[in-house]
Structure formats: C-alpha cells, structure tokens
Symmetry: C2
C-alpha cells in the first residue's frame, strides 16, 4: 500500500466539503453516459446532418456514407438519449434534433479542439 501522501494534509473539513459537493454516483453515471453518446464519429456526423434539416434514415445513411442498419442502430442510441425525435410518414421515418444544447456543446468542443 503506497497510498500515503504528504499532500493529504488537506484538512478533514475540506475533504468533507469537497466530497459533499460531489454529484451523486447516479448523476455522474448519467453525465458520462451523455458524453459517451457524443464520443463517436458516426453519431457526431449524424447529429451534424440533422442540425441542418430533418432527414429520413436512408438519406442519413447516404449522406453519412454508412449502412442503413448501422444508422438505425446509432439513431436508436440518439433516441434513447433524447437527442433526436422522429416523425413517421407512411413507411418513412424522419429524424430531427430534439435538444437545443447540442450546438452549444459542439461550439465549446470545437473551441478546445482548435486550440491545438
């Protein structure tokens, strides 16, 4: 056990304060799950196209250069994360964005990425 460290001289009070303000495990898990959805190039691409206009599955596949099944699987993840919504017209399902925060997230991330 090498877990003894001089810098542990944070006061017990301060430790308690910091730990108390930590979001619960449930919230942390949800945060991670949320970010994980954005952590895939295919989903980023789909979200980008949907940020431009409502699109059906086949067109998304065509635009993104992905197979129909792959798109469908990814759209399910985006649906479960409440990032996109659907509108059905006959056999065609139109997808569109369902979250006004997405563009803001992209902007912040782009800022970081471009600060290379």
């Amino acid at each position: 056990m090498t877990d003894t460290c001089l810098c542990k001289l944070i006061s017990a009070d301060e430790i308690d304060d910091i730990k108390a303000a930590l979001p619960g495990p449930g919230v942390i898990a949800k945060l991670a799950e949320f970010f994980k959805v954005f952590g895939d190039p295919s989903r980023i691409t789909l979200l980008y196209y949907l940020s431009k206009r409502e699109l059906c599955v086949a067109d998304l596949a065509s635009l993104a250069g992905m197979g129909q099944s792959a798109v469908s699987h990814q759209l399910k993840i985006l649906r479960l994360s409440r990032l996109v919504k659907t509108r059905k017209e006959g056999t065609v399902v139109y997808y569109s964005l369902d979250d006004e925060h997405i563009q803001k997230l992209f902007d912040v991330a782009l800022q970081h990425v471009e600060e290379a």
Copy 2:
C-alpha cells in the same frame, strides 16, 4: 440495396451545401475523441475533484476511491487531451485543470440530464 428513398428529393444543390459545411473527417474525429474523454465516470469524478483544487495522484485516488495505477492511467488521458496540467514538487505531482470550458460543458450536460 434498399437505399432508395423518396425523401431523396432534396435538391442536389442542397445536398452539396450540407456536405460542404460538414467539418472535415479530421475535425469530426477530434470532436469525438474530445467527448469520449468525458464519457467515463472515473474521469468525470477526477475532473470534478480537480475543479475544486489542485491535488496529487494519491489524494485523487483516495478521494475517488480508485487505485493509484488506474488514476495514473486516466490522468494520462486527461493530460494528452490537454484538460489537466501538472506541477512537480519533489516526488509529488500535483494535477490541476487546464481548460476553462470544462465547467461550461458540465453545466450544459447537467441541464440535459436533469430534464428527465
């Protein structure tokens, strides 16, 4: 091939416009990599603690309830993503945040998560 869809009646011009505005594959990959870093509960926890104060590896491990090695591995990822920076004092390495956007990202994500 079942990739023929009526809704493909987007004009060729519109398709070109949308595709032209798509960030290049490099940028999309970087965006995904960036978000992926936040897509893990351990890293979220470490970032949270570092948002409170500078901390050494052993204390981070203790606070987060993780092994020293696991923390070190995750800190390396955060370092390579330029999200944290280090300061060495003897054998002790102090970590602290190195990006002013992190809190903003957390805020947006929390908003989404809490809109359940």
